[in-house]
């Protein structure tokens, strides 16, 4: 082992670190540490000049280890590794000391923070001494992608990836693609959601490389970026392509449940067509409620129904996964603003669906059996914790959708009084022109602040009591119908998604991106990309844009045909290994097997399968198994360095 010559670089990060930690003192202290040849500090280590400091020092002082004391590795480990590699040093001979998130940002006592920063640097230097050069592995990348979720974001990602020439497998849980955008009537005063989705269907039909699996879900994902194997369970549709949409089966079906494709405005049978131009364009049987009485099979003249279909499992080799499973609308509990206690209290999604010409009411505003003379939207239902079950975040889209539909109502029924009872109107960007137009179309805006409005259901009719913020008076507004502008929640089955794909959730329950600005469309795990409302509420335009962006990122990963994998995997020291095979049982990816090398049993790690968790290293009694980058000697050195001790190798 050549003598370690370590360079330590302490970053000010503007004020973030230098504001609390005395970076000059930390740099001086670092110089006193054994094997440290040069120690500097600079205002932004991650900037071009900062990286140049490292490169020049590596050349001038022929450093063979670099320690960067700055922010968390999750931000700039890649940046500094690449800088070190450009100066000719193996990129894994760089160790980061997190003196920002773990020190200057969380401690305010300048004295103690500086002492702690010194110790964190000492720990990093201790580990750096034992870092060894590692070579990245390259693996062939599958030229295909799996898109989870058939909403507008998923469709856009699928189209984009198909344009690149990849094979795209689109997996959608419900019997039709199109997601919620197809159901929401007017997305803006001129365009209907269904129009957008049908145009996308046409583009998809023409594309041979997109394979659609409806009624299906991803049940297992294994492998790594560039080489995933995905197991899809395709639930039976019980209706084949022969279906001519004649609808006779629907009449005879005895089962009737609330139709989620009209957000509960009307009922549907167990055998049903989700909406008029659904794709794939034929009926489906809801396997959860169908009692298999066989009536539909009997009455179908075209023999399109086959009740004996079984769920089948499909295995796909894909290079990347795009998660676009969208959101679920907030479900107000019974009694929340009177919901469920009066038939004239509906949700925003039901209203938006109602105004769609293809809705059960053919676009007419019929609530509680009549066209309301005055209708009120209550905003922030389920968002910005205005109600007990609500979340703290703003769902971003309810204001614009409510105003869109309010304008539509005023255009169709000019003498209806329309109120929007709001906390803050969130028509950001160019949507502000909608807010203006609503004013011109005589929509009334009533503001509340902390005291949330109350709905009174009285024999004389519905009333809303609001403490009107701008006149600080309790007013009582007589209304015939109330629309609850419900927000967006993470999808109810997000637990299964996490269990299968290993993504993690942020504080709000939506899936967490690797970094909000550095990598907004990538999950922390390499090869998994995110699009649409799965990472948080968005409008249709932003979801579609995110679909394209996710495709672009997936293409950057797969375009070179091969993937470099991080070499932080397990490595066997064959002399020490006694072949006890404890590690074989411990490995979750069964990447370890026992081979005999000239006579004795020795453990063998399959490089491509090992994901680098290091559990085998901890279980190995003899220390033969070492997790590269987190070897025992490295972690012990770091542990001892906490108290200034040394590791004797």
């Amino acid at each position: 082992m050549t003598e370690p010559r370590i360079g330590v670089y302490v970053c000010h990060c503007g004020f973030n670190i230098a504001g609390t930690v005395d970076v000059k003192k930390v740099a001086e202290y670092a110089k006193t540490l054994p094997n440290v040849v040069v120690a500097r500090d600079y205002v932004f280590m991650c900037s071009e000049p900062g990286q140049d400091l490292i490169k020049q020092d590596i050349k001038e002082h022929n450093l063979n280890r670099v320690v960067v004391a700055s922010c968390s590795p999750s931000l700039h480990e890649v940046t500094f590794r690449t800088a070190v590699a450009e100066a000719g040093l193996n990129k894994y001979l760089m160790e980061m000391a997190n003196i920002r998130e773990h020190c200057s940002w969380v401690h305010h006592d300048k004295e103690k923070a500086t002492e702690k920063a010194k110790e964190i640097v000492r720990m990093a230097v201790a580990k750096a001494r034992y870092l060894d050069p590692l070579e990245e592995l390259e693996v062939k990348a599958e030229q295909s992608a799996l898109v989870l979720g058939g909403g507008v974001a998923g469709l856009r990602a699928a189209l984009e990836l198909a344009n690149y020439g990849l094979q795209v497998y689109l997996v959608e849980k419900s019997p039709t693609i199109g997601g919620k955008a197809a159901l929401i009537g007017y997305v803006d005063p001129k365009t209907k959601g269904a129009e957008i989705v049908s145009k996308m269907f046409e583009l998809i039909k023409e594309c041979p490389r997109i394979h659609i699996f409806t009624n299906s879900e991803l049940i297992q994902l294994s492998g790594f970026a560039g080489n995933y194997t995905a197991k899809i369970r395709v639930n039976p549709r019980y209706v084949t392509e022969k279906c001519t949409l004649c609808g006779e089966c629907e009449e005879v079906c005895p089962i009737e449940i609330s139709n989620e494709y009209n957000f509960g405005l009307n009922k549907r049978k167990a055998i049903f067509l989700p909406f008029n131009n659904a794709y794939p364009p034929y009926y489906a049987i809801d396997h959860r409620v169908c009692v298999k009485c066989g009536e539909c099979e009997k009455v179908c003249r075209f023999g399109a129904i086959n009740l004996k279909q079984e769920p089948k499992i499909v295995e796909l080799k894909v290079g990347a996964l795009v998660i676009a499973t969208g959101y679920d609308p907030y479900r107000p509990f019974k009694g929340e603003y009177g919901y469920g206690l009066h038939e004239s209290i509906i949700t925003l999604f039901q209203l938006a669906r109602m105004l769609d010409p293809e809705s059960p009411t053919k676009g007419e505003l019929i609530i509680g059996g009549k066209i309301p003379k005055s209708i009120a939207f209550i905003q922030c239902v389920g968002s910005r914790n205005t109600t007990p079950g609500a979340k703290e975040y703003c769902s971003r889209m309810c204001c614009t959708t409510a105003i869109n539909n309010a304008i539509k109502i005023k255009e169709k029924y000019p003498d209806t009084n329309v109120y929007i009872i709001y906390k803050d109107i969130m028509t950001y960007g160019s949507d502000e022109s909608l807010y203006e137009e609503a004013g011109k179309k005589l929509v009334q805006f009533v503001k509340f602040e902390d005291k949330i409005p109350r709905v009174l259901i009285t024999p004389e009719g519905l009333f809303i009591e609001v403490f009107e913020y701008t006149i600080q008076e309790n007013i009582r507004i007589p209304v015939d119908a109330i629309v609850l502008s419900i927000g967006m929640l993470p999808p109810r089955d997000i637990e299964e998604l996490i269990a299968v794909t290993r993504v993690s959730c942020g504080g709000e329950g939506f899936v967490r991106e690797a970094h909000l600005k550095l990598a907004p469309v990538e999950a922390p795990t390499k090869g998994i990309f995110l699009a649409g409302c799965i990472t948080g509420p968005k409008n249709i335009l932003e979801s579609i844009r995110m679909g394209s962006a996710a495709a672009a990122k997936a293409m950057s990963l797969l375009s070179k045909g091969k993937i470099t994998i991080e070499p932080m995997i397990a490595q066997v020291n064959e002399e020490k290994c006694s072949g006890c095979a404890i590690c074989v049982g411990v490995c979750p990816y069964s990447a370890i097997s026992i081979k005999n090398v000239n006579g004795d049993r020795v453990a063998y790690v399959e490089k491509a399968l090992c994901m680098g968790c290091g559990t085998c290293n901890a279980a190995c009694p003899s220390g033969a198994m070492q997790h590269l980058g987190f070897k025992d000697v490295q972690l012990l050195a770091q542990t001892r360095a906490v108290f200034g001790g040394e590791v004797n190798v």
Binding site: C13, G14, F15, N16, G19, V43, F44, C46, S47, E48, P49, G50, Q51, C71, L75, H76, T79, T82, E160, N163, Y164, V187, T191, I196, K199, R384, E392, Y393, C394, D424, M426, T427, Y428, G429, S430, E432, E436, T470, Q472, G506, G507, L516, K517, V521, T535, G536, I540, I544, R545, M546, G547, S548, A549, A550, A551, A552, K553, S556, S559, K560
Partner: protein, 443 residues
Amino acid sequence: MSSVLIVGGGVAGIQAALDLAEQGIEVYLVDKAPSVGGKMAYLDKTFPTLDCASCILAPKMAALLRYPNIKLIMNSEVLEVSGRAGNFRVKILKKPTYVDWSKCNGCGVCTEKCPTKVPNEYNMGLSQRRAIYIMFPQAVPKRAIIDAEHCIRLNPPPKAKEKAKGPLCGVCERNCPTKAIRYDQQPEIIDLNVAAIIIATGMELYDPKNLPELGYGKHQNVYTNLEFERLVSATGPTNGEIVRKSDGKHPRKIAWIQCVGSRDVRFNHYCSAYCCMAATKQAILAKEHLPNVECTVYYMDIRAFGKGFNEFLERAKKEFGVRYIRGKVRIDEIPESKNLKIVYEDTAESYLKTEEYDMVVLSMAVTPNSKLSIPLELAEGGFIKLKNPYLDPVSTTIEGIFVVGAVAGAKDIPDSVTEASAAAARAALIAKRLACPTPEVVK
């Protein structure tokens, strides 16, 4: 494999360039400034996570230099574009920097020696720079440039011109260790042939002088939010010290005025989307720098609509004690103390109030840099019009030309970065001849 032209080197332009380069496509990145970075380079911190702007921007700028297939064309403008998608002929005017950038290594010796001092635009005029300067310490490419207008050698003041016999000054030429100064450098025309173009020219702040009742320019202690950002930034003119222009003291009370030039039929109808959270962020930064400062935000609707925004707002209210008052204001100056008297109606109490502040920050509207030599259709508000927002959310009305970032619509950094990747996806298709430019399938 043909190449792609990106006009504008802000965070969106850089992200698009990196995504394209990652796919092996050749990228020309044109920017009118001497360094990439755009408006984000001015920022100290970004909302809602408060990580420092250069921690996000600097590595991306550094990454630009790592790809051999990214060519930076700085200090230049697009003169003319002709041809069609897949084969655009582009004429670019490269304005002279009067420094040979192949020789200059950004050592900065000349920037210390140059005698002429000029207000530094990077610090919004709050500090001085020399006639020969490097835009900001972390600039990429880190090269010096001579500001011809103020350099007494290139543009000698009339009086001195007659008296002088030969050329004046020349201090920078003498001191340059690599002899990189070229006083005689002429503008050049660069002709490029590209498959697709991505417009990422970003935005400028709306001129606050259009709102006389707020007194920008008349009252000394009224700042725009970008000026305040420079004040609070560690690399700013005062190294992060928040001081008043009039007397250099720390302010005790600061007010932020929202919707200045936005949501106003007299100026811009649109809402600029970023300013409510930017003001909240600046209020928190002010509290961090001056713990006992009082921060107040005058707003119409606080728009905290993005991921993590509402928690950020609640934190500002509860943890940092930032006060939010709903009401539009008028600003008068108190002559002796140069403090500012804000006259407003607190719409909660329907009562006209006046309150005195040491410093007022105006959250300015954005105006898109959409006056380009390319004949693109503009939407309402001067943003570049999207051909079909829902089917192709990054394409302009001209096939093969895409638009991203603030010039397509007021948005914040995460949305601009996402849009940039989306545009990179579309542009890469044309560059790789994978698909003939997607014809509009359905009329």
